[in-house]
Symmetry: C2
Subunit: 675 residues, 2 copies
Amino acid sequence: MSNDPLVIFTPSGKRGRFPAGTPVLTAARQLGVDLDSVCGGRGICSKCQVTPSYGEFSKHGVTVAPDALSDWNAVEERYDQKRGLAKGRRLGCQATIQHDVVIDVPPESQVHKQVVRKRAEARDIVMNPAVRLYYVEVEEPDMHEPSGDLERLIAALENQWGIRNIEADLHILPQLQPILRKGGWRVTVALHQGMGAPRIMHLWPGFYEGTLYGLAVDLGSTTIAAHLCDLRSGEVVASSGLMNPQIRFGEDLMSRVSYSMMNPGGADEMTRAVREGMNTLFEQITTEAGIDRTLIMDSVFVMNPVMHHLFLGIDAYELGQAPFALATSNALHLRASDLDLTLHPAARTYILPCIAGHVGADAAAVTLSEAPDKSEDLVLVVDVGTNAEIQLGNKHRLLACSSPTGPAFEGAQISAGQRAAPGAIERVEIDPITKDPRFRVIGCDLWSDDPGFGAAIAATGITGICGSGIIEAIAEMRMAGIVDASGLIGSAEQVGTQRCIADGRTHSYVLWHGTEDSPRITVTNPDIRAIQMAKAALYSGARLLMDKLGVDTVDRVVLAGAFGAHISPKHAMVLGMIPDCVLDKVTSAGNAAGTGARIALLNSDTRAEIEDTVRRIEKIETAIEPRFQEHFVNASALPNSSEPFPILNSVVPLPDVSFNTGGDDSGGRRRRRRG
Amino acid sequence: MSNDPLVIFTPSGKRGRFPAGTPVLTAARQLGVDLDSVCGGRGICSKCQVTPSYGEFSKHGVTVAPDALSDWNAVEERYDQKRGLAKGRRLGCQATIQHDVVIDVPPESQVHKQVVRKRAEARDIVMNPAVRLYYVEVEEPDMHEPSGDLERLIAALENQWGIRNIEADLHILPQLQPILRKGGWRVTVALHQGMGAPRIMHLWPGFYEGTLYGLAVDLGSTTIAAHLCDLRSGEVVASSGLMNPQIRFGEDLMSRVSYSMMNPGGADEMTRAVREGMNTLFEQITTEAGIDRTLIMDSVFVMNPVMHHLFLGIDAYELGQAPFALATSNALHLRASDLDLTLHPAARTYILPCIAGHVGADAAAVTLSEAPDKSEDLVLVVDVGTNAEIQLGNKHRLLACSSPTGPAFEGAQISAGQRAAPGAIERVEIDPITKDPRFRVIGCDLWSDDPGFGAAIAATGITGICGSGIIEAIAEMRMAGIVDASGLIGSAEQVGTQRCIADGRTHSYVLWHGTEDSPRITVTNPDIRAIQMAKAALYSGARLLMDKLGVDTVDRVVLAGAFGAHISPKHAMVLGMIPDCVLDKVTSAGNAAGTGARIALLNSDTRAEIEDTVRRIEKIETAIEPRFQEHFVNASALPNSSEPFPILNSVVPLPDVSFNTGGDDSGGRRRRRRG
């Protein structure tokens, strides 16, 4: 035995001795090395390509001779002529081991290859799709041992691939006999594994070389975003989005819940609309990618609880009132056709579990993407929308809640507010001495005091303030002493600038004087009040979770969602939206819900993992927590009337001004309490 | 402990001691006594009725005092007033044990009650349907412990009924929340158990008192027969039949296989036709029974392989040619909606396994009904149709084959042949001295020589001979010396009757001279030849199985199928259709395939049982067995040119006549070989 050649695989480092003449693929399989093969070692699929290394390897204690592997054989010659085998590459099923050798398995030859994510703190995705291809050679029928063609196909999959308890979808039966005979008893099988028995989804005669696809879909109240993924490489082949067609029944979730209460059959109508929208989106994305829609065999959906119910055909009525009971909270393993989705006829659909009545499958997807449950340090994950979903924890314990922030962060309820679109003010700076602002608008890289700004924005104009713009504007006003901790804007006299103008019983701050084409843009005291309410809701949710964990600080903050991607951490902290934290520990995760859907699509192991995590999450319902109200009142101040924010104060000293003249009750009260 | 009252249940004989005050239902459950309950002991369903017995029971060694059970309580009083509780009955969940007691569980209170079959040799059916009702009380939603309504319903089923891993069909979700709230968190659940995870099929608010139904369907080439069964009592509520609408594509199976070969889309057309026919039949049977079709929650289908494939939407092309490969042979667990059947939307369909390319799910159903695999003695089971399915074995070993008998036994290929219908001759006797016949026709109880026969048959006339009639006619002709062992009819001179008339190169026997209204009916030599071919095919299949088992006799013969029900064992044996056997050991099983379907419907345990049996059956393909031809030639004689039939000869001596005049080659040859 010890005279047999030694084989060392990289990067795994797995090693073993095998008799001379053993194919590399056989050695890899016996050692449990991750080396791909669709054809089962028949020299057809070329998925098992490896790169032998030659010379001396002191690290491994071996010297690899030039004849360590067998010479190219006829199969490799033919493959090279037809397709080209890259220099240095061998087919693992053809090359046999002759002497000690070091063999590298390149990423593209690994089944469980890693899909690298761009963000340093994010885990890479390990490929393990639910649907995979298997090539088999099936025994021909024998009158002496009668059995069905399906039973012999299943036996072939068992014997050649070691997969047990396989079943077949009914639609396979009519195709089975002609395909087996057309392929000369050789077929490629698309097999779904994961939930329940492995199921035969599709058959191709002979060896099928094509790609299978999956869809990761983030079904938002406003937009539906889909990523079309290659189920072998993990690559995003195309991405596409669509306005949620349910918008015609109501802009926000609660108006859609009302629609179904007011209109008999309204829930069904909304279900049909969103499913039709899905199919339109799938048509759009497959056209863009230039692929056949029936090659999409798997799909993963994430969404908030109301969208979850309406997509599944459930009236969301109960979600509109306490106790906010979900019809079902567990993950769902369905056929896409059950949801009227026109993909492959056997395509599967996985919907992540909902965490609670206000914390949906989209929040579970954020958990999967950002993995607070695997974090060593204490992380606060906030997905900001009309509802903020808040998670706090580490690998020992994870808590979640939602808090009704309302639409102010999206620019609604703000006098000059608008959606993030060209022309909207998105960045603001205010000079603490002159109290004059400068700003940038979406669609233009220049600041408003840069030369050429006027010309650059001529096409879009200055149309309003978007969510991130209003955050920065108010935070800058607080830093410049234009607004006090209670949220009151000072008068021109108090602040020392004519930009503070009287506006009814309060004052407003003029951000932009306006021109003939674009109206004057001010930040009003009601604007500030709206943002105060929204950020107080957000902060008090987070603070409640901190209470439950018995902590006063968090190690890091992750802002998820589109809004989180544009928000400035410093300004958010000045407003007291998020807890006091080292600024560079506040990061943006982008569309973490969509990423979570993609992870569940590409690595089916993560489905059971997130289901288990969601079961273990401690769910907090803010509406019934006695301290929520107290936190909310404290958090209405800028940044907070009870918490000190020492890290923030060390970086950004906030002027201690007060503009309360006794006319504003709440401001006055708060001021007194703080003292 | 030993001072606790002793409880003895009958008929099970199970006994145990329980603290005074224990409800009877609780004691029954702990002892594993089969006592029904849908409401789980809440005094709602009244399914747990028992009959306590009082007095001395020397057999059990107890004396039961009048106060052995608690007095009637309020629940029993109320139930009695509303519904009436039969004299001596108590509700098992309300009556508590006070002193030693003997308690009888009447059949209607047993879950696994037995459905008695009429035939002495047939096993009773033990009730164990796949779909059952469970009443549960579900916890209300709690914001502190958010979970879906479905998850709490499933938890209630787990906790209150001990059922694990329950899943729900998607269609349940939209109904779930309103039904739970309408029922005040009390619901009755229809649960499917058996294959895969238990699944919630339907919900009713509160306690549902109604019945669930199932269908047992025998899908024949010519007719479809369905039995609608009560899934609790096992009773057949209605039976109905329909001509198979595929008949318009071809009378027999092979012409339907040809139709799909000749007509693109023909297989699909036939699939649609048979499924539409099914729905028509279901409409018909539910109308007859006066029930809602959506109360049908389970269904079992049996059929031959060609019908199996066409029903499933599979082209039967491969079944028309060697090696007769089935697309799938295993049992199928489907949703009825997958087959376009309009029953309850979640209704399940079970299709029994096929045994081989010519031995279908109908044969497996015969196995289930007649249980040759459980027989102590050696039994031959024959299902006679255009193909005969033949099974031979006992509890140690079971063999099966099919043999192509053709349609002669159904009256086809017979000059005066017709389907069994009013006016057809079905019974024949021939006087061995006078050689004159008398007969009976279907629809009339008189023999043709009885007074009043002419008037009695005036309405129908005498229209032809059906399958059982031709068997009796030829057998009687053989017994009367009108036909010889080779199958030749003698001349008037040879036989001594003017009823033998010349008919081309051979002779015919006049069974009925005819009248103005009804034509003359003769048995011709080609008629005899057709029956000889059919019965030789049948016998040689049986003989081949006997060879494989190494036996020359069988202990008993079971004739299945409609034809088997009308055939006379003595006449069948005179013809040599079946092996020599004691006459009263030849019995008819009626529609055993249909009965097998009903067993699989009513007792879902038998599904795994028959699947296992079918796997173990030794399948013999007669077409490739070298001895089949030899057996066939021998079996062409009446009864057989090589086998002695000693039991038959001891009961019915057959005249040793020969009418071969050298003009008929085959008859002559056979005669010689016998000598």
